[in-house]
């Protein structure tokens, strides 16, 4: 993924988080981390961002379980999930391809997804490689079940589940309805044209490439390198 697309995803995620109080970021999530830090910058101090594994961006003092306890208490507004597959119903598969328990190809594992899926009101999905193998009609395994209202941010577009299925909200600059549809493994219900995802201004880009990428670099150095180069 190139830097420009990453920045669009980050700015889009920040937009989705506006007005929330507490956003938590799990493992393997540099782009959501950057999006949340950007949203926090704009929140006038009202947003708390918790990044798993970070020493500096972590308000938790009760160990690994606290994120999960906190979610069940209703104190976490938003969390992010990626996955090897996301399907038309916004189900997320983090486990692997094929039929469990003996998968044809195992990926990282379920992490906290099976639990957080039903306990965090704003569960935001993301994929940095929007393609027909990652966005499929039906996942091989449901790590986290989908729900209406759920957003999916990819490197090509912004989608949202309505009436049981993911639908196109906007396409990123350089993409079209057709190019996004051809990269998607299920039919998108959409109007003839799709609006373009807003692109961030220079000040926002500078913020992302500067202080935010430094913060994220604490645990995702490759991300910082991509932003800086």
């Amino acid at each position: 993924m190139n830097r420009c697309t990453a920045i669009t995803m980050i700015a889009t995620i920040a937009r989705l988080l506006e007005g929330l109080r507490h956003v938590a970021i799990g493992a393997s999530s540099p782009i959501p981390a950057a999006g949340a830090l950007l949203a926090r910058e704009r929140s006038a101090g009202r947003m708390v961002v918790s990044i798993l594994g970070s020493e500096r961006q972590n308000p938790f003092t009760d160990g690994g379980r606290e994120l999960f306890d906190c979610a069940a208490q209703g104190r976490i507004d938003a969390f992010f999930l990626s996955g090897v597959q996301i399907d038309a119903r916004a189900n997320v598969n983090l486990l692997g391809l094929g039929a469990p328990p003996r998968l044809q190809k195992r990926f990282l594992g379920n992490f906290g997804a099976p639990y957080l899926a039903s306990l965090v009101p704003h569960l935001i999905l993301f994929r940095t490689d929007h393609g027909p193998r990652s966005l499929v009609e039906k996942v091989d395994f449901i790590s986290a079940p989908g729900a209406d209202g759920r957003w999916l941010v990819t490197d090509k577009a912004l989608l949202r589940r309505r009436a049981g299925r993911l639908q196109l909200e906007s396409v990123h600059a350089g993409e079209t309805l057709a190019s996004v549809q051809s990269a998607t493994g299920f039919p998108l219900d959409a109007a003839d044209t799709a609006p373009t995802t807003p692109t961030p201004d220079e000040a926002t880009i500078a913020l992302i490439r500067g202080p935010i990428s430094v913060s994220v670099g604490e645990i995702y150095p490759a991300f910082e390198t991509l932003m800086r180069e």
């Binding site: 493992a27 594992g109 639990y115 957080l116 986290a144």
Partner: protein, 268 residues
């Protein structure tokens, strides 16, 4: 790493019998990699690893060296570098048993052990395919009327093994906010800890330190092993050596690459 530290790590590893179940910290917490080196050198056999809640570099080294029969974990990953390469090979070759889990289920299982309970209830999870995979989990109707709820059995590891910044000579171990290490120590039958530094005195009597300290009554043995988490980082002490980890992530994709990395690393 100097000789006494090596010896101390060996001594700790010697307390872990083949066949033991061992709960390990995630890469961003306190990883006892020097002790893992000693286990690799032995090499240990038939270990059952539990990730609290996930496994990373420690687990991948042990799996790649053939020390591990089974893992129970919410994920197996090398942080930003993605798939754990040795585990990935062993999984494909069907040489390792995997008990799939999710982070809060592992925390809950360890807390059940901490409380001497046979199980803990767990919110959420019911819509996930994981429930069907875990035939040892039970779903009951909440007797208080909240509908179906998941129960997960206690996880009581034989050994909790981790690395921490500081211990005192009484065996109290400072872990700061990394309290998953404390739950591990409470839950396990035996707790073995390597530390960066040991100090005289009593951490439990130091007002500020006490709250982040595991009391000696839970700790079987502490070994003084400076740099004992490297190449991983250690909270409050040092950052990970991402270059080494990247090199490992790439080398360990093949059996030969793994062996060569390991040979070099153990040789240091």
């Amino acid at each position: 790493m100097d000789e006494p530290a090596l010896c101390a790590a060996e001594a700790l590893a010697a307390r872990i019998p083949d066949g033991a179940s061992i709960v390990l910290a995630p890469d961003y917490s306190g990883c006892a990699l020097a002790v893992v080196q000693a286990l690799l050198r032995r090499p240990a056999r038939h270990l059952r690893l539990i990730g609290c809640p996930q496994l990373g570099l420690q687990g991948d080294l042990l799996v790649g060296a053939g020390c591990v029969d089974r893992v129970e974990t919410a994920a197996f990953a090398l942080g930003e570098f993605g798939l754990a390469p040795a585990f990935d090979r062993f999984y494909r070759e069907n040489r390792i048993e995997v008990v799939e889990s999710t982070c809060p289920a592992i925390h809950a299982g360890l807390q059940a052990a901490e409380k001497g309970l046979p199980f803990m209830p767990l919110a959420g999870v019911l819509g996930s395919g994981l429930v069907a995979l875990r035939t040892d989990w039970k779903v009951i109707d909440d007797p208080f009327g909240a509908g179906p709820i998941l129960l997960v059995p206690a996880i009581r590891p034989d050994v909790a093994l981790f690395h921490a910044p500081l211990a005192d000579t009484r065996g109290n171990v400072w872990i700061g906010v990394r309290r998953e290490l404390m739950v591990m120590a409470h839950a396990a039958k035996r707790t073995l800890v390597s530390v960066e530094e040991t100090v005289d005195g009593d951490l439990l009597r130091e007002e500020r330190a006490a709250a982040g300290t595991i009391p000696a009554l839970y700790v079987e043995e502490v070994a003084h092993v400076p740099g004992g988490a490297r190449p991983n980082g250690l909270f409050t002490c040092y950052s990970p050596n991402f270059e080494t980890i990247a090199r490992y992530a790439s080398a360990a994709r093949t059996e030969a690459g793994f062996a060569s990395f390991l040979g070099e690393w153990l040789d240091r």
